[in-house]
């Protein structure tokens, strides 16, 4: 998050809050101006258009998340890397729940002006998970399963994280991390010999 003038910051904060409630398309510039406590003209002095406003907002948030995941994975590998990636992703969602909601609602849209940015972000974020998965289970790479497994781990963390923050917020974060990792631990599956892909 780059430092910026109070007005610009207030506009961005208002925009993400409202978009978390109503989605981006459901957010009007009038509402943003009102919640930010500025006139609508100031929105267009600071941002070229509604699309540009949200493009910047999502781009900034996605870049920060990708960077956090990359930094977290550094120096670890395999299952340990999966543990820190899940922890870091969940922490990012908790620290910026509104942004996480907006991204979650937007991630599979293909009609956005910023779809290239969004696509690249998703690719980079999933690549961190995929790398860790391949380290933990090399044969997943050969069968092409690793990419799908990365989506699975990411999706599990995102949905459990939002479920937690929106409906069960008193629960300590450590318990949520533990529950997600427990899902991947194999304790749901019967203790069995090798399983085919």
């Amino acid at each position: 998050m780059v430092r910026m003038t109070g007005t610009k910051r207030a506009i961005l904060d208002a925009a993400i809050e409202i978009a978390a409630e109503r989605g981006i398309s459901g957010t009007t510039m009038d509402d943003v101006a009102e919640r930010a406590g500025v006139a609508k003209g100031s929105l267009y002095y600071n941002f070229a258009s509604k699309d540009k406003l949200f493009e910047g907002l999502l781009g900034e948030g996605m870049a920060a998340l990708t960077e956090a995941l990359r930094g977290a994975r550094a120096g670890t590998a395999g299952w340990a890397a999966i543990e820190v990636l899940v922890t870091t992703l969940l922490g990012s969602i908790a620290a910026n729940t509104a942004l996480a909601k907006v991204i979650a609602g937007d991630i599979f849209r293909t009609d956005r002006a910023w779809r290239e940015t969004s696509f690249a972000f998703k690719h980079d974020a999933l690549a961190e998970f995929e790398t860790a998965i391949v380290e933990a289970l090399p044969e997943a790479s050969a069968t092409g399963a690793a990419t799908l497994m990365a989506s699975s781990v990411f999706g599990a963390t995102l949905m459990a994280g939002l479920q937690w923050l929106l409906f069960d917020e008193e629960r300590p974060q450590s318990e949520v991390v533990a529950a997600i990792l427990l899902t991947f631990s194999g304790r749901l599956a019967p203790a069995s010999p090798s399983r085919e892909l």
Copy 2:
């Protein structure tokens, strides 16, 4: 899916297709009328409002999915139940990808006219997964982890399923099911003695 007149069906089909591309808020009644091949007046003869149109559409789809999950789980338990639930959910997403995209983009919105319906659906669908998880790992119930684990399994299947259908559609469905279940199999985690919650 209830049988209905050609016009009503055409309107619903057009609405879900466009909403999958642009989201519900981004879908206009003019666009729906045009794609359905009817005049806009016919939309309002068949549905009271845009909200009622989508409320019915999502309600119908969510009810069908919940029913499919309930039926699939019947007669199984534990890990076997998780396997059929994941398979059934993935099959439903594949059979109705447009609807799945719309639901995925809408599931964490709190401002919708149909939020009660949506909330109840999510609760019922997750309950099927939670039941299976508690059968497979009874201690998850005591710690309160089971609900979060149900969200994890659901989220993993949803995200991997959409990733598959939108970006890797030639892959056979059986491989996708296998990759998701492999994520939960424990083969990512180190072979270890008992793990604390």
